[in-house]
C-alpha cells in the first residue's frame, strides 16, 4: 500500500474529478478510468485500486441519483428488479475475486467491451420510444419528460431475461474489476431491451450504488480499502460528477453513444495490455 502523502492525495483528487465527470456524462460510474489509473500509472495493487474505485462508484451513484430522483428518469421498478441480479453477481464476484486469476477476466472484459462498442455504433439512430404519450408502458416500462425535445417519452421493456442476465454479469464484473458495471448494462438495455439511452443510464447509475456496495463491503472487510485515499478520490469524484451531470443534460444522445463507444474501445485496449502481462 503506497504511503499517504499530500502530493499523492492531490493526484488522486484530480484523477477523481476527471473520472467522476466522465462517469456522470456516460452513466459508467467513472471506475473504468480510475482503476487503470491507480493500478497502471500509480502502481497500486489491483485490489486496492478496485476498493477505492468501488467506493467512488457508490458516491457517484448516490449523489447523481439523489439529484435525479423525482424526475422519473430513473426507472425504479426495473432498477429494483435488476438489482436482485446485480447484487447477487457482485456478491459472488467479490468472494471469487480472491481466488480467480485477474488476467483471464480482464481479457474477457476487453472482448465484451469491444462487442458492446460495435453494437452502439451500429445502432446510433435507434430511439426506442413510443410517440403516443397515452400508450401504456406496462409494469416495468417508463415515461419521462425529455427536455431536449420537449416531449414526454414512453417506452416498454423488452427481453427481460436478457436484461437480468446482463445485470448479473455486470454485477459480477463490477466487484471483480472495481467498476460500476454500467459499461455492460447500459448498451444492452438500450440496444436490445427497448430502454432509451438517457433512462437506461439513469437507471443503471441508480443500481450501481447497491451493486458496488455488495463488492465494496468485502474489500473493506478484508482491509484492502485505504480510508484517506478513498476519501480524496470520493471528494474528487463528487465534484467531477456534479460538473458532468450539468454538462450531460446538454449533450445529445447520439454524441453520448459515440463517446461511449470510443471509451469502450479504449477500455478494451487497456484491459488487454493489463491482462497480457
Amino acid at each position: 500500500m503506497p504511503l499517504v502523502t499530500p502530493s499523492l492525495a492531490t493526484i488522486i483528487f484530480v484523477a477523481g474529478i476527471i473520472s467522476g465527470s466522465l462517469g456522470a456524462l456516460l452513466g459508467l460510474g467513472g471506475g473504468v478510468f480510475l482503476v487503470p489509473f491507480l493500478n497502471l500509472i500509480l502502481g497500486f495493487p489491483f485490489t486496492a485500486a478496485a476498493a477505492i474505485s468501488l467506493t467512488t462508484v457508490i458516491a457517484t451513484s448516490s449523489s447523481v441519483s439523489a439529484g435525479r430522483a423525482g424526475k422519473q428518469l430513473i426507472n425504479m421498478k426495473l432498477g429494483m428488479l435488476l438489482e436482485v441480479a446485480t447484487a447477487g453477481g457482485s456478491f459472488l464476484g467479490g468472494v471469487t475475486a480472491q481466488f480467480i486469476a485477474q488476467s483471464v477476466l480482464q481479457k474477457l472484459f476487453g472482448i465484451v467491451a469491444a462487442l458492446v462498442a460495435a453494437i452502439m455504433l451500429t445502432r446510433l439512430r435507434r430511439r426506442n420510444v413510443i410517440l403516443d404519450p397515452s400508450a401504456d408502458p406496462g409494469v416495468l416500462g417508463g415515461r419521462y419528460y425529455e427536455e431536449e425535445s420537449g416531449t414526454t417519452v414512453t417506452y416498454r421493456v423488452k427481453r427481460l431475461p436478457l436484461a437480468v442476465t446482463a445485470s448479473f454479469l455486470a454485477g459480477n464484473v463490477s466487484s471483480l474489476l472495481g467498476i460500476g458495471g454500467g459499461i455492460i448494462k447500459v448498451p444492452i438495455l438500450n440496444a436490445w431491451c427497448g430502454i432509451p439511452l438517457r433512462a437506461a443510464a439513469a437507471t443503471s447509475a441508480f443500481m450501481i450504488g447497491v451493486t458496488a456496495t455488495a463488492g465494496a463491503l468485502i474489500y473493506y472487510g478484508r482491509g484492502q480499502l485505504e480510508p484517506a485515499l478513498a476519501a480524496v478520490a470520493v471528494l474528487g469524484v463528487q465534484i467531477g460528477s456534479w460538473g458532468g451531470m450539468r454538462f450531460g443534460a446538454a449533450a445529445s444522445s447520439k454524441w453520448l453513444k459515440i463517446l461511449m463507444a470510443i471509451v469502450l474501445l479504449i477500455v478494451t485496449v487497456m484491459m488487454f495490455a493489463r491482462g497480457g502481462r
Binding site: A59, S61, A214, G221, P227
Partner: protein, 108 residues
C-alpha cells in the same frame, strides 16, 4: 382507468423518499470525508481524523443499504408484494456481503 393515477403517485412518493435518503447519506459522508481528509493531511493521521474517515466510509457504504430498506418499507405500505419481495432479496444479498466481509476479516 380510474386506478391509473394511483401507482403513478406511489412511484413518485418512493422516488422522493429514496432521494432524501441518498442526499442525507451523501451529505453526511462527504462532510466526514472532507474534514477527515483535510485533518489527516494537515496534522498527520491522528486518531480523530482516522475515526472521521472511517465514519465517512461506513456512512457511504450503508447509504445504498438504507435506500433499499426505505424501498422495502414503501412497497410494503403500498401492499406491492412482488416488489417488496424483490427488494427484500436485494437486502439479503447485501447482508450476505457484509457477513462475507466479516468472515474474510476474521481469517486474516
Amino acid at each position: 382507468m380510474t386506478a391509473e393515477p394511483q401507482p403513478q403517485s406511489a412511484s413518485q412518493r418512493l422516488e422522493r423518499a429514496v432521494g432524501v435518503v441518498l442526499r442525507a447519506g451523501v451529505t453526511l459522508s462527504t462532510v466526514c470525508l472532507a474534514v477527515g481528509a483535510v485533518w489527516a493531511l494537515a496534522a498527520g493521521e491522528s486518531g480523530g481524523a482516522r475515526v472521521l474517515l472511517q465514519i465517512g466510509i461506513v456512512v457511504l457504504l450503508t447509504t445504498p443499504v438504507a435506500r433499499v430498506v426505505v424501498s422495502i418499507a414503501q412497497y410494503v405500505s403500498e401492499s406491492d408484494w412482488p416488489f417488496a419481495t424483490l427488494t427484500t432479496i436485494v437486502l439479503v444479498e447485501l447482508l450476505a456481503s457484509a457477513v462475507a466481509a466479516l468472515l474474510f476479516n476474521k481469517k486474516l
